[in-house]
């Protein structure tokens, strides 16, 4: 049975249980505890939940019957040069899928394939149908694949029986439970509540997934590469000879430098814009300027990246580059710290201004009135009273913007360059953590090499840094809000 047929079977049984439930409820003459549809829903849930639970359990157990014994049989002789057992296993699974699909499509007959099958012909047939890449099939791999397919199909049959059986039993049990004294609504609501809870739990699961997926690969990285070099080394020079220097410090320098430039642009502009909008601007100006500024935050970062690469970088080079308007030669490449930093600053203006605006608005009017009553001008009130009162909140806003700047990817990938070094010249190219993650994970390198795995260590570091900034920022903002509520 195909997966679709199984799904269809479960759906039919579930619908049947709903309809039968309806009949059973209609047949009773006593007063029901719940509305009739809750009894039907209960029967439906009883039919659907067991196969779902069973299937999830199956996903966990199945590898012990199918891929587990196979991967135990993968001897070093089968593993090609530079490969690994897990890659061979993935090959086997891919080939098995191809063979099974081809069998289903009637191209070949799996049960007729013996040990003597001409593998070249089989490979070409499968490749022509677009089911596998390449036409070469290793005989040893093919033998394991055959074994795998047999195990897989037995497993599939067992699972089909179990799932359909569980559905029918569940439906029967649900129908049996239907009687007037049964609190069907409460039972249904308990299940629903559990579903809602699981959805909320997914947020936790995502975080756990992020942390563990990166931690796992980082451990692999540390096994292959000295952690001392990663944390304390001063050079970033990946190569393919196995003596790469993979230090985070030069990348961290680039990240922090570019972020600092971005904040130097965004913070003054953002805060002054927020002050003007909340304290001085007329209602009509505010209703136009505020959404327009916020558009800057809604523009995809790829647009800023392209702007930095094609427009702003060359513009800076026209001024500071060789033969530029200023007659100096400070800039050799259009990509630089200033290019990426200033463009990123533009993007961050609304992050600073919107949050600061909210925070300034939250300062109680009585503080302003008190200050005016003492004869202060509006700007004096702002500088001496409102800003100090709003300072913690504004610091929170800046920290959030900083975390955004550190994690920003596309602008620096396109605008910052790829040279890892320590330089203080804002007109030179630098590279950042995020750009290196992209380049290490999108290259052609072997996945299990330190050069690729270092991306996970970088990702984990990035996550920890931004998480720290976010937590501090959120704490400050929350505390500040409470102060005036």
């Amino acid at each position: 049975m195909s997966n679709l047929a199984i799904l269809l079977g479960i759906a039919i049984i579930a619908t049947a249980s709903y309809v039968l439930g309806r009949y059973k409820v209609a047949g009773t003459s006593q007063t029901l505890h719940s509305l009739p549809r809750y009894y039907c829903l209960f029967a439906l849930i009883c039919a659907v939940v067991p196969p779902i639970v069973l299937f999830l359990a199956w996903l966990g157990i199945a590898p012990f019957f199918t891929s587990g014994p196979i991967s135990a049989q993968i001897t070093p002789a089968i593993i090609p040069e530079g490969g690994s057992a897990s890659l061979v296993m993935a090959d086997i699974q891919r080939l098995a899928n191809g063979v099974m699909q081809a069998t289903r499509a009637g191209l070949i007959d799996f049960s007729a394939l013996g040990d003597t099958t001409n593998l070249d012909v089989l490979g070409e047939t499968l490749a022509a149908a677009g089911l596998i890449f390449g036409t070469k099939i290793d005989p040893a791999v093919f033998a394991l694949t055959q074994d795998y397919i047999v195990r897989y199909e037995i497993g599939h049959d067992v699972m089909t029986l179990l799932l359909l059986g569980a559905t029918i039993l569940g439906a029967l049990w649900g129908l049996y439970q239907i009687r007037p004294s049964f609190w069907a609504r409460n039972a249904v609501e308990r299940v629903l509540r559990l579903v809602l809870m699981l959805a909320a739990g997914l947020a936790i699961l995502t975080t756990v997934g992020i942390v563990f997926s990166m931690l796992f690969e980082t451990v692999n990285f540390v096994r292959l590469h000295a952690w001392q070099d990663f944390f304390f080394g001063l050079n970033w020079a990946p190569n393919f000879h196995g003596d790469s220097e993979l230090a985070i410090l030069p990348l961290l320098w680039g990240t922090l430098y570019i972020s600092a430039v971005a904040l130097a642009v965004a913070v003054p502009i953002g805060i002054f814009a927020a002050i003007y909008l909340s304290e001085y601007a007329t209602k009509s100006l505010r209703s136009i300027a505020k959404p327009l500024l916020e558009v800057l935050a809604g523009i995809p970062t790829i647009v800023y990246g392209l702007f930095a690469l094609v427009v702003f970088g060359p513009f800076l080079k026209d001024w500071f580059g060789d033969g530029g308007f200023l007659g100096v030669n400070w800039m050799s490449d259009a990509r630089s710290v200033a290019t990426a930093g200033i463009v990123m600053g533009i993007m961050l203006i609304p992050f600073v201004s919107s949050l600061s605006d909210d925070i300034i608005n939250a300062v109680p009017q009585s503080l302003r009135d008190g200050s005016y009553g003492l004869g202060a001008t509006q700007s004096e009130t702002i500088k001496r009273v409102i800003l100090p009162a709003a300072l913690p909140g504004i610091v929170g806003a800046i920290l959030l913007a900083a975390s955004r700047a550190i994690g920003e990817t596309m602008i620096v990938v396109l605008g910052a360059g790829a040279i890892a070094r320590f330089t203080a010249n804002p007109l030179e190219a630098l590279t950042t953590i995020t750009t290196r993650i992209v380049s290490q994970l999108t290259g052609d390198g072997d996945f299990n090499s330190p050069e690729t795995l270092v991306a996970f260590a970088l990702g984990l570091s990035l996550f920890v840094i931004t998480l720290g900034l976010n937590i501090i920022a959120l704490m400050i903002v929350r505390k500040y809000r409470e102060q005036y509520e």
């Binding site: 993935a90 409460n186 609501e189 629903l192 509540r193 809602l196 959805a199 909320a200 997914l202 947020a203 936790i204 975080t207 997934g209 992020i210 997926s213 990166m214 502009i269 953002g270 002054f272 814009a273 003007y276 304290e279 001085y280 601007a281 300027a289 327009l292 500024l293 800057l296 995809p300 970062t301 790829i302 647009v303 392209l306 702007f307 690469l309 094609v310 427009v311 203006i349 201004s353 001008t377 700007s379 004096e380 702002i382 955004r404 550190i406 994690g407 920003e408 990817t409 990938v413 396109l414 993650i437 992209v438 994970l441 999108t442 990702g459 990035l462 996550f463 931004t466 998480l467 976010n470």
Partner: protein, 442 residues
């Protein structure tokens, strides 16, 4: 009071007051300048996008009468498709050169360049275009058929002012003589710029043929991904919000979840890409570059946004509604699903659209799951194919073009940005309209 003497009138403006007033004006100017800079930047961006991107919607075409010689395409003359397929695109190229030669002779164009050089002003995709047309309709063989062919990107650049005669002098792809020839053809109306529907509907092309590249396939990829994100993130997000807002007991677990969601919303998007690579591709062996995987990654990224806005929408429904429902005998679940949720629906929808718009413009996480360096050339055929076969998405396609570092591709990247922004503006406008139309103030 050291600075005012007792004799001075209150109406006389002292130096000190002047200074204070000047400082007040200065301060106000800083604010105006800040807003001015912000708006100026927005204007600059908008101007750049429009001025650089509109070119992509126009393309130079060459209209040619090509004689499809039987002696070249079907030597035996039996119109056997299998045999005709053996004539590769190389077999078709000379036909184009001959067509140019005939054209030059017919219209008496004086030029020193040879037929082969004339044919170079046509896109490298032209022979295959010819071949497809002939294999579709073998009856055309032997006739003279009018073809509208894409011009080479250098010629296109010349007509759009991107390539000048000075550039051409030291460019091996194009010569000044060829440009002269093109000038003649433009005067005759053989070469002209037209609206380029191929850019909107077409597929990406290799880096040798910028004139043939389109964003259509990537648009399908984006659409599929958005469908996946919508189908997953809306129900899960709403369910999670309902639990947290209406049912969750106030304990440390709930607190952890809440802090978690607030933090997830601020996690750099590239981290979600690493998660997707590690879990969906390396552990679960999903195919690379598939819209389904992209959709899953973006769902995880969008969920916090949707949860935060949904919770705000639920919170905005006054407690009196809940109390009234409970008072009439509804259970808590019934009061939420029958009363609170419908009232919060406009707010939820608005938040969802904004979350989707954010996901639509996201690039970084998608690069990590393989939506890069891939030339999306085929329209998907079936649903599974559409979800699991490699594809690209609009922002990744734009990045891909930006990386090729060719002015002709930059133009296409800006054009792609225009299309992307049209989608984003439409979605955001829809969100604003929904909010205006259905928002209730209690």
């Amino acid at each position: 009071m050291t600075h005012t003497s007792a004799k001075q009138s209150l109406f006389e403006v002292t130096d000190h007051t002047k200074r204070r007033n000047a400082s007040e004006r200065r301060f106000r100017r800083y604010g105006q300048a800040a807003i001015g800079i912000g708006l100026l930047m927005l204007l600059t961006l908008a101007y750049t996008i429009v001025s650089k991107g509109t070119g992509a919607f126009q393309q130079t075409f060459v209209t040619l009468n090509i004689e499809l010689l039987e002696s070249k395409l079907d030597k035996k003359g039996n119109r056997d498709l299998e045999e005709m397929k053996k004539v590769s695109t190389f077999g078709y190229a000379p036909l184009i050169a001959t067509a140019f030669e005939n054209l030059a002779a017919e219209r008496e164009i004086k030029t020193k360049i040879k037929a082969k050089e004339m044919a170079q002003i046509i896109s490298k995709s032209a022979p295959s275009q010819l071949r497809d047309r002939v294999l579709d309709d073998p009856a055309l063989i032997g006739q003279t058929v009018e073809f509208t062919l894409l011009a080479n990107s250098w010629i296109d650049g010349y007509l759009k002012g991107r390539v000048t005669r000075e550039n051409a002098q030291n460019n091996k792809n194009i010569s000044v003589q060829q440009l002269d020839f093109v000038d003649e053809l433009v005067a005759l109306g053989v070469v002209e710029k037209r609206f380029n529907i191929g850019f909107i509907t077409g597929a990406d092309a290799s880096d040798q043929r910028p004139e043939d590249a389109g964003i259509g396939v990537a648009m399908i990829g984006s659409l599929l991904m958005m469908i996946v994100v919508l189908l997953l993130s809306l129900p899960i997000g709403v369910a999670a919000s309902i639990y947290l807002e209406e049912f969750a007991p106030k304990n440390w677990i709930t607190d952890v979840i809440e802090v978690n969601i607030a933090n997830l919303a601020a996690v750099p998007s590239i981290v979600f890409g690493i998660l997707g690579l590690a879990i969906f591709i390396n552990t679960m062996h999903f195919p690379q570059s598939a819209p389904l995987v992209g959709g899953l990654v973006l769902t995880l990224m969008t969920l916090p946004t949707i949860i935060i806005s949904t919770r705000a929408a639920l919170k905005a429904v006054p407690p009196s509604i809940r109390s009234a429902a409970l008072g009439l005998g509804a259970s808590q679940m019934q009061s939420v699903f029958h009363h609170v949720l419908p009232l919060a629906a406009p707010g939820i929808l608005t938040g969802t659209i904004i979350g989707l718009a954010q996901a639509l413009g996201e690039t970084a996480p998608l690069l990590l799951i393989g939506m890069i360096g891939y030339i999306a050339t085929n329209m998907p055929e079936t649903v599974t194919d559409a979800l699991l076969a490699p594809n690209s998405v609009m922002p990744a396609q734009i990045y891909e073009w930006a990386k090729r570092a060719d002015p002709a591709f930059y133009e296409r990247a800006w054009g792609g940005i225009i299309i992307l922004l049209v989608f984003l503006i439409t979605m955001n406008t829809l969100a604003v309209v929904l909010r205006r139309r259905f928002e209730r103030r209690w």
